[in-house]
Subunit: 227 residues, 2 copies
Protein backbone atom coordinates (compact mmCIF):
# COMPACT_ATOMS: atom_id res chain seq x y z
CA UNK A 1 0.00 0.00 0.00
CA UNK A 2 0.86 3.65 0.08
CA UNK A 3 1.86 3.70 3.72
CA UNK A 4 5.53 3.12 4.44
CA UNK A 5 5.89 2.00 8.01
CA UNK A 6 9.27 0.55 7.19
CA UNK A 7 11.34 -0.79 4.33
CA UNK A 8 12.91 -4.22 4.87
CA UNK A 9 16.65 -4.07 5.40
CA UNK A 10 17.27 -6.57 2.62
CA UNK A 11 15.42 -4.25 0.29
CA UNK A 12 17.45 -1.23 1.42
CA UNK A 13 20.69 -3.01 0.59
CA UNK A 14 19.41 -3.82 -2.88
CA UNK A 15 18.13 -0.29 -3.43
CA UNK A 16 21.71 0.88 -3.01
CA UNK A 17 22.72 -1.52 -5.77
CA UNK A 18 19.92 -0.38 -8.08
CA UNK A 19 21.01 3.18 -7.46
CA UNK A 20 24.52 2.36 -8.62
CA UNK A 21 23.27 0.68 -11.78
CA UNK A 22 20.85 3.53 -12.53
CA UNK A 23 23.58 6.10 -12.11
CA UNK A 24 25.64 4.25 -14.68
CA UNK A 25 22.71 4.02 -17.07
CA UNK A 26 21.94 7.73 -16.68
CA UNK A 27 25.56 8.62 -17.36
CA UNK A 28 25.33 6.53 -20.49
CA UNK A 29 22.38 8.60 -21.68
CA UNK A 30 19.78 5.92 -21.13
CA UNK A 31 16.21 7.21 -20.65
CA UNK A 32 14.19 4.18 -19.56
CA UNK A 33 14.75 0.63 -18.29
CA UNK A 34 12.52 -2.34 -17.76
CA UNK A 35 12.50 -4.30 -14.52
CA UNK A 36 13.97 -7.26 -16.33
CA UNK A 37 16.98 -5.39 -17.62
CA UNK A 38 17.59 -3.59 -14.37
CA UNK A 39 17.25 -6.83 -12.43
CA UNK A 40 19.72 -8.53 -14.73
CA UNK A 41 22.27 -5.76 -14.25
CA UNK A 42 21.80 -5.90 -10.49
CA UNK A 43 21.90 -9.68 -10.29
CA UNK A 44 18.43 -10.19 -8.83
CA UNK A 45 15.05 -11.59 -9.78
CA UNK A 46 12.83 -9.18 -11.82
CA UNK A 47 9.77 -9.78 -9.62
CA UNK A 48 11.84 -9.16 -6.52
CA UNK A 49 13.09 -5.91 -7.98
CA UNK A 50 9.54 -4.74 -8.65
CA UNK A 51 8.53 -5.64 -5.10
CA UNK A 52 11.51 -3.69 -3.78
CA UNK A 53 10.49 -0.66 -5.79
CA UNK A 54 6.88 -1.00 -4.70
CA UNK A 55 8.01 0.21 -1.26
CA UNK A 56 8.68 3.60 -2.84
CA UNK A 57 5.19 3.89 -4.24
CA UNK A 58 4.36 3.65 -7.96
CA UNK A 59 7.32 4.90 -9.94
CA UNK A 60 7.15 3.12 -13.26
CA UNK A 61 5.03 3.31 -16.40
CA UNK A 62 3.15 0.14 -17.28
CA UNK A 63 4.02 -1.20 -20.64
CA UNK A 64 7.19 0.90 -20.76
CA UNK A 65 9.38 0.58 -17.69
CA UNK A 66 11.06 3.06 -15.38
CA UNK A 67 12.44 6.45 -16.22
CA UNK A 68 16.09 6.17 -15.30
CA UNK A 69 16.78 9.61 -13.84
CA UNK A 70 13.48 9.82 -11.97
CA UNK A 71 13.93 6.43 -10.35
CA UNK A 72 17.53 7.24 -9.50
CA UNK A 73 16.49 10.45 -7.74
CA UNK A 74 13.65 8.72 -5.93
CA UNK A 75 15.93 6.00 -4.54
CA UNK A 76 18.59 8.55 -3.63
CA UNK A 77 15.97 10.46 -1.68
CA UNK A 78 14.74 7.40 0.20
CA UNK A 79 18.29 6.41 1.11
CA UNK A 80 18.88 9.88 2.51
CA UNK A 81 21.45 10.91 -0.04
CA UNK A 82 20.13 14.39 -0.71
CA UNK A 83 22.21 15.56 2.23
CA UNK A 84 25.86 14.65 2.63
CA UNK A 85 26.86 12.49 5.57
CA UNK A 86 29.88 13.45 7.61
CA UNK A 87 32.03 10.48 8.62
CA UNK A 88 35.03 10.02 10.86
CA UNK A 89 37.52 7.22 10.32
CA UNK A 90 39.57 5.75 13.16
CA UNK A 91 42.60 3.59 12.45
CA UNK A 92 44.73 4.64 9.51
CA UNK A 93 46.57 1.41 8.82
CA UNK A 94 46.62 -0.19 5.39
CA UNK A 95 42.87 -0.66 5.29
CA UNK A 96 42.07 2.70 6.85
CA UNK A 97 44.27 4.50 4.36
CA UNK A 98 42.56 2.64 1.55
CA UNK A 99 39.13 3.67 2.82
CA UNK A 100 40.22 7.28 3.29
CA UNK A 101 41.47 7.42 -0.28
CA UNK A 102 38.54 5.58 -1.84
CA UNK A 103 36.61 7.89 -4.14
CA UNK A 104 33.48 5.74 -4.15
CA UNK A 105 32.29 7.22 -0.86
CA UNK A 106 32.40 10.86 -1.82
CA UNK A 107 30.44 10.32 -5.00
CA UNK A 108 27.71 8.67 -2.94
CA UNK A 109 27.31 11.43 -0.42
CA UNK A 110 29.67 10.26 2.30
CA UNK A 111 32.43 12.65 3.24
CA UNK A 112 35.24 11.97 5.66
CA UNK A 113 35.69 14.94 7.95
CA UNK A 114 38.24 13.42 10.32
CA UNK A 115 40.96 10.78 10.20
CA UNK A 116 42.44 9.49 13.45
CA UNK A 117 45.27 7.21 14.43
CA UNK A 118 47.06 6.34 17.64
CA UNK A 119 50.48 6.10 16.03
CA UNK A 120 52.56 9.31 16.11
CA UNK A 121 54.16 8.15 12.88
CA UNK A 122 50.81 8.36 11.12
CA UNK A 123 49.62 11.59 12.69
CA UNK A 124 50.23 14.54 10.43
CA UNK A 125 50.19 12.60 7.20
CA UNK A 126 47.80 13.82 4.54
CA UNK A 127 45.38 11.35 2.93
CA UNK A 128 42.84 12.47 0.41
CA UNK A 129 43.44 16.06 1.38
CA UNK A 130 42.80 15.42 5.07
CA UNK A 131 45.36 15.33 7.86
CA UNK A 132 45.61 12.36 10.21
CA UNK A 133 44.90 13.56 13.76
CA UNK A 134 45.65 12.03 17.15
CA UNK A 135 42.72 10.08 18.58
CA UNK A 136 42.64 12.49 21.50
CA UNK A 137 40.92 14.97 19.20
CA UNK A 138 38.17 12.52 18.25
CA UNK A 139 35.46 13.95 20.50
CA UNK A 140 36.20 17.54 19.52
CA UNK A 141 36.04 16.84 15.80
CA UNK A 142 32.82 14.86 16.09
CA UNK A 143 31.26 17.70 18.05
CA UNK A 144 32.53 20.38 15.69
CA UNK A 145 31.53 18.63 12.47
CA UNK A 146 28.37 16.91 13.66
CA UNK A 147 29.58 13.64 12.19
CA UNK A 148 26.93 10.93 12.47
CA UNK A 149 28.87 8.00 11.05
CA UNK A 150 32.03 6.41 12.42
CA UNK A 151 34.20 3.90 10.61
CA UNK A 152 36.53 1.67 12.65
CA UNK A 153 39.59 0.20 10.94
CA UNK A 154 41.75 -0.29 14.00
CA UNK A 155 43.36 -3.45 15.36
CA UNK A 156 40.83 -5.69 17.09
CA UNK A 157 42.14 -4.95 20.59
CA UNK A 158 41.17 -1.28 20.58
CA UNK A 159 38.00 -1.44 18.51
CA UNK A 160 35.64 -1.66 21.49
CA UNK A 161 37.08 1.37 23.33
CA UNK A 162 36.99 3.33 20.07
CA UNK A 163 33.37 2.27 19.59
CA UNK A 164 32.54 3.47 23.11
CA UNK A 165 34.14 6.83 22.48
CA UNK A 166 32.39 7.28 19.14
CA UNK A 167 29.03 6.49 20.71
CA UNK A 168 29.67 8.81 23.63
CA UNK A 169 30.70 11.58 21.25
CA UNK A 170 27.35 11.38 19.50
CA UNK A 171 27.99 9.14 16.49
CA UNK A 172 24.85 7.17 15.72
CA UNK A 173 26.04 4.68 13.11
CA UNK A 174 29.25 2.65 13.13
CA UNK A 175 30.81 0.56 10.38
CA UNK A 176 33.33 -1.84 11.89
CA UNK A 177 36.11 -3.57 9.96
CA UNK A 178 37.93 -4.89 13.01
CA UNK A 179 37.44 -8.63 13.53
CA UNK A 180 35.55 -8.34 16.81
CA UNK A 181 31.89 -8.17 17.70
CA UNK A 182 31.19 -4.75 19.15
CA UNK A 183 28.56 -3.84 21.69
CA UNK A 184 27.10 -0.36 21.52
CA UNK A 185 24.42 1.42 23.52
CA UNK A 186 20.83 1.42 22.31
CA UNK A 187 20.31 4.00 19.61
CA UNK A 188 23.69 3.35 18.04
CA UNK A 189 23.68 0.98 15.09
CA UNK A 190 26.71 -1.16 14.34
CA UNK A 191 27.39 -2.93 11.06
CA UNK A 192 30.15 -5.48 10.81
CA UNK A 193 32.27 -6.19 7.74
CA UNK A 194 34.56 -9.13 8.34
CA UNK A 195 36.74 -9.90 5.36
CA UNK A 196 37.90 -13.25 6.72
CA UNK A 197 34.32 -14.37 7.22
CA UNK A 198 33.59 -13.66 3.57
CA UNK A 199 36.53 -15.80 2.49
CA UNK A 200 35.54 -18.60 4.84
CA UNK A 201 32.01 -18.68 3.49
CA UNK A 202 33.42 -18.88 -0.02
CA UNK A 203 35.75 -21.70 0.93
CA UNK A 204 32.92 -23.61 2.57
CA UNK A 205 30.61 -23.27 -0.41
CA UNK A 206 33.38 -24.55 -2.65
CA UNK A 207 34.06 -27.48 -0.37
CA UNK A 208 30.37 -28.32 -0.15
CA UNK A 209 29.95 -28.14 -3.90
CA UNK A 210 32.89 -30.42 -4.51
CA UNK A 211 31.59 -32.96 -1.99
CA UNK A 212 28.10 -33.18 -3.47
CA UNK A 213 28.01 -35.25 -6.67
CA UNK A 214 24.36 -34.52 -7.43
CA UNK A 215 24.58 -31.12 -8.96
CA UNK A 216 21.63 -28.95 -9.78
CA UNK A 217 22.11 -26.98 -12.94
CA UNK A 218 19.85 -24.05 -12.34
CA UNK A 219 22.06 -21.65 -14.20
CA UNK A 220 19.96 -18.60 -14.84
CA UNK A 221 22.29 -15.65 -14.73
CA UNK A 222 24.68 -15.34 -17.67
CA UNK A 223 22.10 -14.72 -20.33
CA UNK A 224 24.61 -13.96 -23.03
CA UNK A 225 26.41 -10.66 -23.28
CA UNK A 226 24.44 -7.49 -22.72
CA UNK A 227 20.94 -6.44 -23.38
Amino acid sequence: MQSRPRIPEATVARLAVYLRVLTGLADGGRRTVSSGELASAAGVNPAGLRKDLSHLGPCGTRGVGYEVSTLRDRIAGVLGMETAHACVLVGIGNLGAALAGYGGFGSRGFEFVGLFDASPARVGQQIGGLPVRPVAELEDVVAATGATIGVIATPAEVAQPVCDRLAAAGVRSILNFAPVTLSAPAGVDVRQVDLSVELQVLAFLDKQRGAVPGVRLDALAPAGGMA
Copy 2:
Protein backbone atom coordinates in the same frame (compact mmCIF):
# COMPACT_ATOMS: atom_id res chain seq x y z
CA MET B 1 29.79 -37.25 12.19
CA GLN B 2 30.27 -36.83 8.49
CA SER B 3 26.59 -36.92 7.57
CA ARG B 4 25.71 -33.29 6.92
CA PRO B 5 22.83 -32.87 4.48
CA ARG B 6 23.48 -29.18 4.18
CA ILE B 7 24.35 -26.26 6.39
CA PRO B 8 22.47 -22.98 5.82
CA GLU B 9 24.65 -20.20 4.49
CA ALA B 10 23.62 -17.88 7.30
CA THR B 11 24.84 -20.50 9.75
CA VAL B 12 28.17 -20.85 7.94
CA ALA B 13 28.82 -17.12 8.26
CA ARG B 14 28.13 -17.28 11.99
CA LEU B 15 30.30 -20.38 12.43
CA ALA B 16 33.21 -18.30 11.18
CA VAL B 17 32.44 -15.75 13.89
CA TYR B 18 32.19 -18.42 16.59
CA LEU B 19 35.52 -19.76 15.44
CA ARG B 20 37.13 -16.37 15.92
CA VAL B 21 35.70 -16.03 19.42
CA LEU B 22 36.68 -19.57 20.37
CA THR B 23 40.23 -19.02 19.17
CA GLY B 24 40.46 -15.99 21.41
CA LEU B 25 39.07 -17.92 24.37
CA ALA B 26 41.46 -20.80 23.80
CA ASP B 27 44.41 -18.42 23.64
CA GLY B 28 43.25 -17.02 26.96
CA GLY B 29 43.42 -20.47 28.50
CA ARG B 30 39.68 -20.95 28.78
CA ARG B 31 38.53 -24.60 28.90
CA THR B 32 34.75 -24.48 28.53
CA VAL B 33 32.01 -22.03 27.54
CA SER B 34 28.26 -22.05 27.75
CA SER B 35 26.06 -21.23 24.78
CA GLY B 36 24.93 -18.08 26.55
CA GLU B 37 28.41 -16.72 27.01
CA LEU B 38 29.55 -17.65 23.52
CA ALA B 39 26.41 -16.16 22.02
CA SER B 40 26.94 -12.95 23.92
CA ALA B 41 30.51 -12.67 22.67
CA ALA B 42 29.38 -13.34 19.12
CA GLY B 43 26.41 -11.00 19.28
CA VAL B 44 23.72 -13.59 18.59
CA ASN B 45 20.82 -15.31 20.32
CA PRO B 46 21.83 -18.29 22.53
CA ALA B 47 19.17 -20.59 21.10
CA GLY B 48 20.26 -19.67 17.59
CA LEU B 49 23.83 -20.49 18.43
CA ARG B 50 22.83 -23.92 19.71
CA LYS B 51 20.85 -24.55 16.55
CA ASP B 52 23.84 -23.51 14.46
CA LEU B 53 26.06 -25.93 16.35
CA SER B 54 23.48 -28.69 16.05
CA HIS B 55 24.39 -28.91 12.37
CA LEU B 56 27.80 -30.24 13.42
CA GLY B 57 26.26 -33.03 15.47
CA PRO B 58 26.31 -33.15 19.28
CA CYS B 59 29.42 -31.38 20.48
CA GLY B 60 28.57 -30.10 23.94
CA THR B 61 28.10 -31.57 27.40
CA ARG B 62 24.67 -31.04 28.93
CA GLY B 63 24.79 -29.20 32.20
CA VAL B 64 28.32 -27.98 31.44
CA GLY B 65 28.73 -26.34 28.02
CA TYR B 66 31.20 -26.72 25.20
CA GLU B 67 34.87 -27.59 25.41
CA VAL B 68 36.59 -24.63 23.80
CA SER B 69 39.41 -26.30 21.91
CA THR B 70 37.30 -29.23 20.74
CA LEU B 71 34.57 -27.00 19.40
CA ARG B 72 37.12 -24.74 17.75
CA ASP B 73 38.68 -27.68 15.92
CA ARG B 74 35.30 -29.05 14.93
CA ILE B 75 34.22 -25.78 13.35
CA ALA B 76 37.58 -25.33 11.67
CA GLY B 77 37.17 -28.76 10.12
CA VAL B 78 33.66 -28.09 8.85
CA LEU B 79 34.75 -24.79 7.30
CA GLY B 80 37.53 -26.57 5.47
CA MET B 81 40.37 -24.88 7.30
CA GLU B 82 42.50 -27.97 7.81
CA THR B 83 43.97 -27.32 4.39
CA ALA B 84 45.27 -23.93 3.30
CA HIS B 85 43.53 -22.13 0.46
CA ALA B 86 45.61 -20.54 -2.26
CA CYS B 87 44.30 -17.14 -3.37
CA VAL B 88 45.21 -14.70 -6.11
CA LEU B 89 44.55 -11.00 -5.78
CA VAL B 90 43.99 -8.77 -8.80
CA GLY B 91 44.18 -5.00 -8.49
CA ILE B 92 46.85 -3.65 -6.18
CA GLY B 93 45.50 -0.19 -5.52
CA ASN B 94 44.98 1.15 -2.05
CA LEU B 95 42.48 -1.52 -1.12
CA GLY B 96 44.35 -4.34 -2.83
CA ALA B 97 47.56 -3.43 -1.05
CA ALA B 98 45.69 -3.38 2.23
CA LEU B 99 44.25 -6.84 1.59
CA ALA B 100 47.63 -8.21 0.52
CA GLY B 101 49.21 -6.95 3.71
CA TYR B 102 46.39 -7.99 6.03
CA GLY B 103 47.58 -10.68 8.42
CA GLY B 104 44.10 -11.86 9.30
CA PHE B 105 43.88 -14.02 6.20
CA GLY B 106 47.03 -16.05 6.72
CA SER B 107 46.11 -16.95 10.27
CA ARG B 108 42.79 -18.30 8.99
CA GLY B 109 44.23 -20.53 6.32
CA PHE B 110 44.09 -18.23 3.32
CA GLU B 111 47.38 -17.62 1.55
CA PHE B 112 47.97 -15.22 -1.29
CA VAL B 113 50.08 -16.89 -3.96
CA GLY B 114 49.87 -14.18 -6.60
CA LEU B 115 49.37 -10.42 -6.74
CA PHE B 116 48.53 -8.79 -10.07
CA ASP B 117 48.17 -5.27 -11.36
CA ALA B 118 47.86 -3.63 -14.75
CA SER B 119 49.97 -0.63 -13.84
CA PRO B 120 53.69 -0.91 -14.68
CA ALA B 121 54.37 1.37 -11.72
CA ARG B 122 52.95 -1.25 -9.36
CA VAL B 123 54.50 -4.29 -11.02
CA GLY B 124 57.67 -5.37 -9.27
CA GLN B 125 56.77 -3.93 -5.89
CA GLN B 126 56.89 -6.31 -2.96
CA ILE B 127 53.89 -6.55 -0.63
CA GLY B 128 53.83 -9.00 2.22
CA GLY B 129 56.82 -10.82 0.76
CA LEU B 130 55.16 -11.27 -2.64
CA PRO B 131 56.00 -9.45 -5.87
CA VAL B 132 53.31 -7.70 -7.88
CA ARG B 133 53.09 -9.33 -11.30
CA PRO B 134 51.62 -8.13 -14.60
CA VAL B 135 48.09 -9.42 -15.19
CA ALA B 136 49.32 -11.21 -18.29
CA GLU B 137 50.78 -13.85 -15.96
CA LEU B 138 47.45 -14.45 -14.23
CA GLU B 139 46.55 -17.68 -16.01
CA ASP B 140 50.02 -19.17 -15.59
CA VAL B 141 50.14 -18.50 -11.87
CA VAL B 142 46.66 -19.89 -11.27
CA ALA B 143 47.58 -23.02 -13.19
CA ALA B 144 50.93 -23.42 -11.44
CA THR B 145 49.65 -22.83 -7.91
CA GLY B 146 46.22 -24.40 -8.25
CA ALA B 147 44.65 -21.33 -6.68
CA THR B 148 40.94 -21.82 -6.11
CA ILE B 149 40.03 -18.37 -4.80
CA GLY B 150 40.32 -15.05 -6.62
CA VAL B 151 39.96 -11.63 -5.03
CA ILE B 152 39.11 -8.67 -7.26
CA ALA B 153 40.08 -5.19 -6.06
CA THR B 154 40.31 -3.49 -9.41
CA PRO B 155 38.43 -0.45 -10.73
CA ALA B 156 34.84 -1.25 -11.68
CA GLU B 157 35.47 -1.00 -15.41
CA VAL B 158 37.82 -3.98 -15.60
CA ALA B 159 36.28 -6.20 -12.92
CA GLN B 160 34.13 -8.23 -15.32
CA PRO B 161 36.97 -9.11 -17.72
CA VAL B 162 39.14 -10.03 -14.75
CA CYS B 163 36.32 -12.19 -13.44
CA ASP B 164 36.05 -13.92 -16.80
CA ARG B 165 39.77 -14.63 -16.88
CA LEU B 166 39.80 -15.94 -13.33
CA ALA B 167 36.90 -18.27 -14.08
CA ALA B 168 38.50 -19.46 -17.31
CA ALA B 169 41.77 -20.09 -15.51
CA GLY B 170 40.04 -22.45 -13.09
CA VAL B 171 39.29 -20.30 -10.05
CA ARG B 172 36.07 -21.52 -8.44
CA SER B 173 35.34 -18.80 -5.88
CA ILE B 174 35.59 -15.05 -6.33
CA LEU B 175 35.41 -12.29 -3.76
CA ASN B 176 34.66 -9.00 -5.49
CA PHE B 177 35.31 -5.57 -3.99
CA ALA B 178 34.66 -3.64 -7.19
CA PRO B 179 31.32 -1.81 -7.21
CA VAL B 180 29.78 -3.81 -10.03
CA THR B 181 27.60 -6.90 -10.16
CA LEU B 182 29.60 -9.66 -11.80
CA SER B 183 28.26 -12.55 -13.82
CA ALA B 184 30.22 -15.76 -13.74
CA PRO B 185 29.65 -19.17 -15.35
CA ALA B 186 27.82 -21.88 -13.41
CA GLY B 187 30.13 -23.57 -10.96
CA VAL B 188 31.90 -20.36 -10.06
CA ASP B 189 30.66 -18.65 -6.93
CA VAL B 190 30.87 -14.88 -6.60
CA ARG B 191 30.54 -12.96 -3.34
CA GLN B 192 30.17 -9.22 -3.40
CA VAL B 193 31.48 -6.82 -0.77
CA ASP B 194 30.32 -3.28 -1.53
CA LEU B 195 31.58 -0.80 1.01
CA SER B 196 29.33 1.99 -0.21
CA VAL B 197 26.27 -0.20 0.17
CA GLU B 198 27.16 -0.82 3.79
CA LEU B 199 27.39 2.89 4.45
CA GLN B 200 24.12 3.56 2.66
CA VAL B 201 22.29 0.96 4.72
CA LEU B 202 23.67 2.57 7.87
CA ALA B 203 22.59 6.01 6.74
CA PHE B 204 19.11 4.76 5.93
CA LEU B 205 18.66 3.05 9.28
CA ASP B 206 19.72 6.24 11.01
CA LYS B 207 17.32 8.32 8.96
CA GLN B 208 14.50 5.87 9.61
CA ARG B 209 15.19 5.88 13.35
CA GLY B 210 15.07 9.65 13.45
CA ALA B 211 11.64 9.56 11.82
CA VAL B 212 10.25 6.89 14.13
CA PRO B 213 8.50 9.07 16.77
CA GLY B 214 5.57 9.89 14.54
CA VAL B 215 6.13 7.56 11.61
CA ARG B 216 5.86 10.32 9.09
CA LEU B 217 7.61 9.78 5.84
CA ASP B 218 5.16 11.94 3.95
CA ALA B 219 7.98 13.78 2.27
CA LEU B 220 8.30 10.71 0.08
CA ALA B 221 4.62 10.19 -0.56
CA PRO B 222 3.42 10.85 -4.09
CA ALA B 223 0.49 13.04 -3.14
CA GLY B 224 -0.62 13.50 -6.70
CA GLY B 225 1.91 14.33 -9.37
CA MET B 226 5.39 13.49 -8.27
CA ALA B 227 7.81 14.03 -11.04
